[in-house]
């Protein structure tokens, strides 16, 4: 591996940014904008779009310098869909105008994004979606219903896939758009979930006009564009290193240490087993990171999500039991519409319930196991009877 972009140069630029915009006296958003303009937002992005065309693994040089200086953060949790999914898709398929327009406010956090993919009739089988987009001059007119849309209530923009040709087989007649969530015809209704809150929503699209200039990729090629989004959704490993006991296991381990009266032998056995699994998952993440650094990304990325989903669920389940009487309580069932998922700031019951979504959101564990089996292990595909049938002729 040859490092063409030295860490020292990245550090120099970061210090320059800090000197020109001292965090203590600079407004948060102004600082983030300056950071974007200095190419230190996501350094592997192109120059002019918040990056330096530098190797991705050097990002931590920027991040640690800034953290040390107490610089503000763009809170990736709040803008996760924009950062993790919309941005790489816009970068890959967007026009120059689109990249110029969308990436900076996205990264700075001025504009939150959501993902209008899933529909009541098309979840795992996303390509079966039925939301229609019909061409009308320079625009498209969109009608349909989306569901489980996280953050739609705070989002300014959405990535949207819709059917533009029902006569083609389901994977073909789809196109990919950027939808303005403030446009007439977009209606967002909270959808309360298992935790009591409404983090996701139903979104009704009625005669929504989207200019053709907000299409991403060619007409009818939306499925291919969506693959970029979905791939990035699964491989959300940014090369960040987690310390030992960094995830949910740390919370439980702390409780275990601080509250000897809660300990039982059975819980001890389970805690140790999960501790080992969490440590091993951390090491697998580290190995993946090293592979990326060495320029040889393996298929492991798409599989990490599976491991974390299972671990989160088991650890949070154990935590509720460990707390015993307290585990019977729940902080608050009031329906609110949070801006972000807060695993650490809430109680064990919330963690237990919310983690159930980890094996559903972003592709279910069953579907991911199919992907591993077929694409990594090369096992024969499921028999299909929908590949060559026009979407409109599929049974629904």
């Amino acid at each position: 591996m040859t490092v063409t972009f030295p860490a020292a140069e990245i550090r120099r630029r970061t210090r320059e940014l800090l000197a020109a915009h001292p965090p203590a006296t600079t407004d948060r958003t102004e600082f983030l904008k300056a950071r974007f303009d200095a190419g230190l937002a996501w350094i592997h992005y192109p120059v002019g779009l918040g990056g330096l065309d530098a190797p991705r693994f050097l990002q931590h040089v920027v991040d640690s310098e800034l953290a040390e200086a107490g610089a503000p953060d763009n809170d990736p949790r709040r803008i996760g869909i924009g950062l993790g999914m919309a941005a790489p898709t816009v970068l890959r398929y967007g026009t120059d105008e689109q990249k110029e327009r969308f990436l900076r406010p996205l990264w700075v956090g001025e504009e939150v994004w959501c993902q209008l993919f899933s529909e009541p009739g098309a979840g795992s089988d996303l390509a079966a979606l039925g939301t229609r987009a019909v061409r009308d001059g320079d625009s498209w007119v969109v009608d349909g219903q989306k569901v489980w849309t996280s953050s739609a209530h705070v989002a300014r923009w959405a990535i949207l896939i819709a059917r533009t040709d029902p006569d083609l087989p389901k994977h073909r007649g789809i196109s990919y758009f950027i939808c303005d969530m403030t446009d007439p015809g977009v209606e967002v209704r909270p959808l309360r979930q298992i935790t009591g809150e409404a983090e996701f929503n139903e979104v009704f699209l009625t005669g929504v006009r989207i200019p053709d200039s907000r299409r991403l990729g060619p007409v009818g090629d939306g499925w291919k564009v969506a693959q970029t989004t979905l791939m990035n959704e699964r491989v959300s490993i940014g090369g960040a290193r987690i310390p030992r006991e960094g995830g949910m296991i740390g919370t439980v381990a702390r409780t275990w240490r601080e509250r000897p009266e809660l300990r039982t032998h059975d819980l001890h056995q389970r805690l140790l087993t999960l501790w080992v699994e969490a440590e091993v998952a951390r090491l697998s993440g580290e190995r993946l990171r090293q592979q990326l650094m060495a320029g040889q990304p393996g298929p492991e990325g798409s599989a990490m999500k599976l491991a974390f989903a299972r671990l989160n669920q088991q650890i949070s389940g154990l935590e509720v039991e460990l707390l015993g009487e307290e585990g019977l309580l729940y902080s608050d069932w009031t329906m609110n519409r949070p801006e972000l998922v807060d695993f650490t700031g809430r109680d064990a019951g919330y963690r237990y319930l919310r983690s159930k979504g980890n094996s559903i959101e972003g592709g279910t564990s069953e579907v991911l196991l199919n992907i591993v089996a077929e694409r990594v292990l090369g096992l024969p595909p499921e028999p299909r009877n929908d590949k060559d049938v026009a979407w409109k002729d599929l049974s629904r």
Partner: protein
């Protein structure tokens, strides 16, 4: 696939061992794999373990001397290769993949490591190390294969140089030239052919790694360490043995999954390859996930040992607590997903199941290693 060892980026916040394989390691792997494919294919292994000489001396010579695998851990000035735990771990992955009956783990890793821990510059220890490194002789540590730590090593008693005692379940004792015997009076090197030494072969669950009971009845040997240095040396040997056993377990699991995928793609029932049934695909995908994790854990253990990190005991315990179960799970799934043929003696699956299950007890069970972890990271029992 060859991998270049990445240079750690500057300012790494957390020191971590390299978990990938270097080009040299991949070369070593290729050499060992080619040799094993040639000399230790499955029918050959089955025939060999049923014969009177479970070890193939020609295979051992080629592996130990020609490839130089036996001396990987031994410094060059003592006649070895001066390589590290990482390379030895790669050899063990391949040996796990072929369940080859050779005394690599017991002689080239554990016994060698015990002797190295004595840090002798000359004398009988150095002489023996040189012979082990060259593969001319093999040694076995006379403690039960299941013993996780030096204090569970059932030391023999030694009175004025005469050894008395019985040690059960010693791996590879029957083929060893020398036994390293922990006693109340220190560590002795005892020739298996010496008077007063009886090595009684046992019928072992794992056909590919024979066990024996060692009976000492007034045997004599060379005292290579006093009691004070013997205990830590034996402990070191067992720690390294447990740490590198994880790589053998990784190799076992990999073979089991690869063969199961191959077989279920070819085998048809209900007019489909059985590998296209989702209930099977998910099980194999799950195994793949476990193997990905096992590789990270095993590489981490080898890496922490190689850098002499104070975290090595934790890394070893984590690797053992995890990899044991993965190897057994993979071998059990291998038998099940092969159907009737998986239960058949001629098919090698059983060799892997037996090795995996025996390995899950060797150098301490997973549960025992979890206890170690509980202590190291301060998660005490009630």
């Amino acid at each position: 696939m060859t991998a270049q060892t990445p240079q750690p980026a500057q300012d790494e916040p957390i020191p971590m061992p390299v978990l990938l394989y270097s080009e040299d390691e991949e070369d070593l792997r290729a050499a060992v794999r080619a040799l094993l494919a040639d000399r230790a294919d499955a029918p050959g292994v089955i025939a060999r373990v049923e014969s009177d000489t479970p070890y193939d001396p020609r295979l051992w010579k080629a592996l130990a001397a020609d490839i130089g695998a036996a001396g990987l851990l031994v410094p060059e000035k003592l006649g070895g290769q001066g390589a590290s735990y990482r390379e030895a771990a790669v050899v063990l992955e391949e040996l796990g993949r072929s369940v080859a009956p050779v005394p690599y783990l017991t002689s080239s890793v554990v016994a060698t490591e015990v002797l190295l821990a004595l840090a002798a510059q000359d004398g009988p220890v150095v002489e023996l190390l040189g012979e082990l490194a060259a593969g001319r002789r093999t040694a076995a540590l006379a403690v039960p294969f299941s013993a996780p730590a030096a204090d569970e090593a059932q030391p023999a008693s030694a009175v004025t140089g005469r050894l008395e005692g019985t040690v059960t379940g010693v791996a590879d004792a029957a083929t060893a030239d020398v036994l390293l015997v922990p006693t109340t009076d220190g560590l002795y090197a005892v020739e298996t052919s010496a008077d007063g030494v009886t090595v009684e072969p046992l019928v072992a669950l794992d056909l590919t790694r024979p066990l024996a009971t060692v009976v000492l009845d007034g045997a004599t040997g060379v005292r290579v360490a006093d009691a004070a240095s013997a205990v830590p040396a034996v402990g070191r040997g067992l720690l390294v043995g447990a740490g590198l056993l994880a790589s053998e377990q990784l190799g076992i699991a990999e073979w089991c999954l690869t063969e199961t995928v191959r077989y279920t793609r070819e085998r048809h029932q209900f007019n489909r390859p059985v590998g296209s049934f989702q209930s099977l695909k998910h099980r194999m995908a799950q195994l793949w996930l476990e193997i990905v994790s096992a590789r990270a854990a095993a590489r981490n253990a080898a890496g922490e040992l190689a850098t002499g990190s104070p975290d090595a005991p934790l890394a070893v315990a984590v690797a053992q607590a995890y990899c044991s179960g993965v190897a057994v799970h993979a071998a059990e799934e291998c038998v099940q997903l092969h159907g009737g043929i998986g239960m058949t003696w001629e098919h090698p699956a059983h060799l892997y199941l037996k090795r995996a299950k025996a390995d899950s007890i060797a150098y301490g069970t997973a549960g025992r290693h979890r206890e170690v972890i509980a202590e190291l990271v301060e998660l005490p029992a009630p």
